[in-house]
Amino acid sequence: MLAVLRAGEDAYGVPISREIEATTGREAALGSVYAALGRLEDKGLVTSKLGEPTAVRGGRAKAYFRVTAKGLREVRQAQQTLVKLWRGIPQLKGEVA
């Protein structure tokens, strides 16, 4: 969901997988990205919309993804949970988070 948010208006498979690759340093298989996005769509956390077919894609349309309001709430909640967990760990004090 973070990769979808970071890709912004142009959030379709290729930019999303590139975001994941740039952030994690690992190649993300597009099939895995679509499988994850499919699960998120089933849960109502993202929506998809088909664009216009283009020649460079062999006449196939792009599927654009957008995080829903429910998805945004889930992201914020996950962020707050992580921040809470991050705080108060003596071993990590003084280090840049």
């Binding site: 379709y12 298989a29 099939g31 895995s32 679509y34 088909l50 894609r57 062999g58 599927a63």
Partner: protein, 206 residues
């Protein structure tokens, strides 16, 4: 770079299995940038596997039915039809119907031919009445079943000198070859004989 330089077999496979059209488009677009056939094939296999897994998970009942139908057909075929057909000359002769033993092929050929046609039929039925990933799942289950026999195969090979002169060993070898290679290829071939469905545009499909 034109679409014709794409790995066409990989793209065709994805279409056959019903992979999402937008995903295929993304792979085509990215292939033009990367120019790596290995990358494209790796991504194709990942797309097929991930998509199939997702499709099976979201259609558990249909997947269960595909397994049930596949194994029931296999049981009927290999228990009842296979041997009378492969040994048709003996079957007809014993019943006094006809004597075709002089021209009926000897050795493993009838086993391979009859086994292949049977598996093509089973693969066709599963692919025709279920989704394509269900056939892949059935093939995986058949392979797992076959691999479960591996310890017995190994033990037979260890005792090779003992069985060398016996017909039993050759029969065993033929059955093993049939199970591991011919069965898998024929099942998939049967699936390919079913006309292609409309490609998926929904993420709910692989």
């Amino acid at each position: 770079m034109t679409a014709s330089s794409l790995p066409t077999v990989a793209t065709w496979l994805m279409k056959r299995i019903g992979t999402n059209e937008a995903l295929i488009g993304d792979l085509v677009e990215e292939y033009h940038r990367r120019q790596s056939r290995t990358w494209y094939w790796r991504q194709t296999l990942a797309a097929i596997l991930m998509g199939s897994y997702r499709d099976v998970r979201s259609n558990k009942l249909l997947a269960f039915r595909a397994l049930l139908v596949g194994w029931a057909l296999s049981w009927v075929f290999f228990r009842i039809v296979f041997f009378p057909l492969a040994d048709l000359d003996e079957w007809l002769f014993v019943r006094g119907i006809a004597d075709i033993r002089s021209w009926w092929p000897k050795g493993p050929i009838p086993y391979f031919v009859v086994g292949s046609f049977g598996c093509i039929g089973i693969g066709w039925v599963i692919a025709r009445f279920h989704r394509p990933p269900m056939l892949l799942m059935f093939v995986v289950s058949v392979m797992m079943w076959n691999f479960s026999w591996l310890p017995i195969v190994m033990s037979r090979l260890i005792w090779w000198p003992y069985y060398r002169s016996q017909w039993y060993f050759y029969t065993f070898l033929i059955q093993g070859l049939l199970a591991f290679v011919v069965m898998t290829i024929s099942l998939l071939l049967g699936g390919l004989l079913v006309p292609t469905r409309e490609p998926s545009r929904s993420l709910a499909m692989p």
